[in-house]
């Protein structure tokens, strides 16, 4: 999908909210696919993904969870005497941990298995985040009881064993450098006994059995429709409802509004004025951002620190006991980065692109690149957005950080301007996130979702993309 609205292009579909309005994750939808070797599991999975045609589906292969072999075992494997078709070849603990975290919507690191060395590639993983649907496939896909319990849909691909063998011979000779007798030797020694003893019985656990594998277009089509319907039922339409919530009078206790000095009021007068030139808008926005960041810094932990001055006097001072990583919610949150760098010269900065779906007003996650230091002890995240309206984008961004194992109380959410609705929504969901803003406006227009009196579209005015 590619939509074009004036000068605004959104290519592809972002990830719609995967959490409820209280900020808790909805479980990710997990499809398990099992079947014999060369039965067409992967092809079926790929066809389902293609039919679903949304980017937030992840294919997870059981091959990634092979155990590391010892040097002796590698020798045996290289002589083709190692039984890779045994259910004992897999690391079920790691598999269970991975699937559990994925189910909870967490970011996970999936190992990469090297079939040459028969070991996991050291220091290299596939980082998977942002899946609403996981398709998990492997010959033992339906074997482990605990993993099975987490699946929403269990599929067994039941292709005729003769066809499987024929495909396997063809594939292993063409792609894996075997000769026919080698393939048959392995088949008779390991593949067939394992299939009969362990794999085929897992068919009993399946919800759906697909005869003939990939050829069975009707079955795959039915499966796809079922998954789509399930996802539709889980879909949340929260943003517009949020705007209509009548918030309590008082702001939540985790919200800090900058003291309304003449400076703050004067700066707001300039950036709100429709007549203000972009040149001035940027200058005064940067100044305001610096003040917001300075205010937020006071919420971090400090420790006593003694230093000696050049005149050899001792000073009992303070030192910041924290590291800071900025994360801007693009596009408008990027306008606070200048202010951040004025105060924390070398702050690392992550980015999260969240855009509003033009058709239903829901936020969608399009892109996320976070610094690896975000979950280190003593690192605080300054999550930056320009204006907090319904709080929908902030909620999504905080959810992204939590999914990456950032503790809730180490997130400080910063903005220039906020509406009470958004502040309450975020505080209710994440009461331990500190929120710092320079001004609170009384009205969130439920039709335009602009704050009133507000300042219009902050990003447009800062980056100069507004219509004249």
């Amino acid at each position: 999908m590619k939509s074009k609205l004036g000068n605004h292009v959104i290519a592809g579909e972002g990830r719609p909210p995967w959490y409820r309005s209280d900020g808790q994750n909805c479980d990710c939808y997990i499809v398990g696919i099992a079947g014999g070797s060369a039965s067409g599991k992967t092809s079926v999975a790929q066809r389902i993904i293609k039919n679903l045609n949304v980017p937030w589906v992840v294919l997870l292969s059981m091959d990634s969870f092979y155990k590391d072999l010892t040097p002796e075992e590698v020798e045996i494997a290289h002589r083709n005497d190692w039984d890779f078709d045994s259910p004992n070849s897999y690391d079920y603990d790691l598999l269970l941990e991975t699937v559990t975290k994925l189910k909870e919507g967490k970011q996970v690191d999936v190992p990469i298995y090297d079939f040459e060395t028969h070991k996991r590639v050291p220091n290299k993983v596939n980082t998977v985040y942002g899946a609403n649907v996981i398709i998990f496939e492997g010959i033992f896909g339906l074997y482990d009881k605990k993993v099975l319990e987490m699946m929403d849909l269990k599929v067994f691909v039941d292709t005729d064993v003769d066809i499987c063998l024929a495909r396997r011979i063809k594939r292993d000779v063409a792609e894996r450098g075997f000769d026919v007798s080698g393939v048959l030797k392995l088949y008779q020694r390991f593949v067939k006994p394992s299939y009969d003893t362990y794999v085929y019985p897992t068919k009993k656990s399946a919800d759906v059995v697909i005869p003939r594998g990939l050829e069975n277009l009707v079955a795959i089509d039915l499966l796809t429709k079922h998954i789509q319907r399930q996802l539709q039922e889980r879909k949340m339409q929260s943003r517009w409802d949020m705007a209509r919530i009548c918030p309590p009078e008082e702001l939540p206790s985790n919200v800090l509004v900058l003291e309304e000095t003449k400076q703050i009021k004067g700066l707001h007068t300039i950036i709100r004025d429709i007549e203000t030139s972009r040149h001035d808008f940027i200058f005064y926005a940067d100044r305001l951002a610096t003040l917001v960041i300075e205010r937020a810094l006071n919420e971090l932990p400090y420790e006593p620190k003694d230093v000696e001055t050049p005149t050899k006097k001792t000073v009992h001072g303070l030192g910041l006991k924290a590291h800071i990583a900025g994360v801007s919610i693009l596009r408008a949150g990027g306008t606070m980065e200048n202010g951040l760098r004025r105060v924390i010269r070398d702050a690392v900065i992550g980015k999260i692109l969240i855009q509003t779906d033009p058709y239903n007003g829901e936020p969608q996650l399009h892109y996320c690149k976070l610094p690896p230091t975000i979950r280190e002890a003593n690192t605080f995240i300054f999550l930056m957005d320009a204006v907090v309206g319904t709080g929908a984008a902030g909620l999504m961004a905080i959810r992204v950080l939590l999914d990456h194992d950032v503790p809730e109380d180490r997130i400080v959410f910063l903005s220039f301007l906020a509406a009470p609705q958004g502040l309450h929504t975020i505080s209710r969901a994440f009461p331990r996130v500190k929120i710092v803003t320079s001004y609170v406006d009384p009205i969130l227009n439920p039709d335009t979702l602009y704050l009133e009196p507000g300042l219009g579209n902050f990003g447009d005015r800062y980056f100069g993309t507004e219509h004249d």
Binding site: T290, V307, G317, E452, L455
Partner: protein, 218 residues
């Protein structure tokens, strides 16, 4: 803090992050790049606070949503005046907040014969008498050169109550001397130290600010 500053003195809110910044610039082991960076940060906060004490009028503007915002507008024009050389270190911070602000300069040195501060050079915007002056000197020790600088401004027609004296570190002796002489003027300072030592340096202070900022110390 045992010393109760007079009402003319505005001390910045003693927040933790301000204290952490002054700790860095006081530390003799702080590298020059950090010294400059953290000094500039404090100076920006000083200037922001100083501007809070200028007169304002109400102003209503229309926002892009078509609604009115009842804000304020600053009355009167300002200019910076730095006491050379150390005061010039505060110009960057001033410009970060007040873009293209006019800046006057005053050079005051100790007279070899009388040991009193003597005016060597002054250059101001021609209309300085009609402006609010932000007088810049990072350290207020005895107050000798500050008093000389303020006298010079008054000579040029600036009203005493239109002068804001901004400094990072001050001490009771300097504050008392300046306030006694110019009770209508305001002083904005980041921290007030215990006092002066026998060499008339601020104790604990941070050494020679100008030398550390401009890199002319050994």
């Amino acid at each position: 803090m045992a010393f109760q500053p007079p009402k003319q003195v505005i001390v910045l809110p003693q927040t933790q992050q301000l204290k952490a910044c002054t700790t860095i610039i006081r530390d003799k082991n702080t590298q020059r790049a950090d010294f400059i960076f953290y000094s500039d940060r404090i100076i920006r906060i000083l200037v922001e606070e100083g501007l809070n004490h200028l007169p304002v009028v109400e102003k209503t503007v229309v926002t892009p949503t078509g609604k009115e915002f009842h804000g304020i507008d600053f009355q009167g024009r300002i200019c910076g005046v730095s006491i050379m050389r150390a005061g010039e270190s505060m110009e960057q911070g001033l410009r970060d907040v007040c873009r293209s602000v006019r800046i006057g300069k005053i050079l005051i040195q100790r007279d070899e014969e009388t040991a009193l501060p003597k005016l060597y050079y002054a250059k101001f915007p021609p209309d300085i008498a009609s402006r609010f002056c932000l007088l810049l000197d990072p350290m207020l020790a005895t107050g000798g050169s500050a008093i000389k600088a303020i006298e010079t401004l008054i000579d040029y027609g600036v009203a005493e109550e239109r002068i804001l004296f901004l400094n990072l570190i001050s001490c009771p002796e300097g504050i008392a001397a300046v306030v006694a002489k110019f009770p209508a003027m305001k002083i904005v300072t980041a921290e007030i130290d215990a006092g002066l030592d026998e060499k008339l340096y601020i104790n604990p202070g941070l050494g020679d600010f100008g030398c550390r900022y401009f890199g002319t110390d050994k």
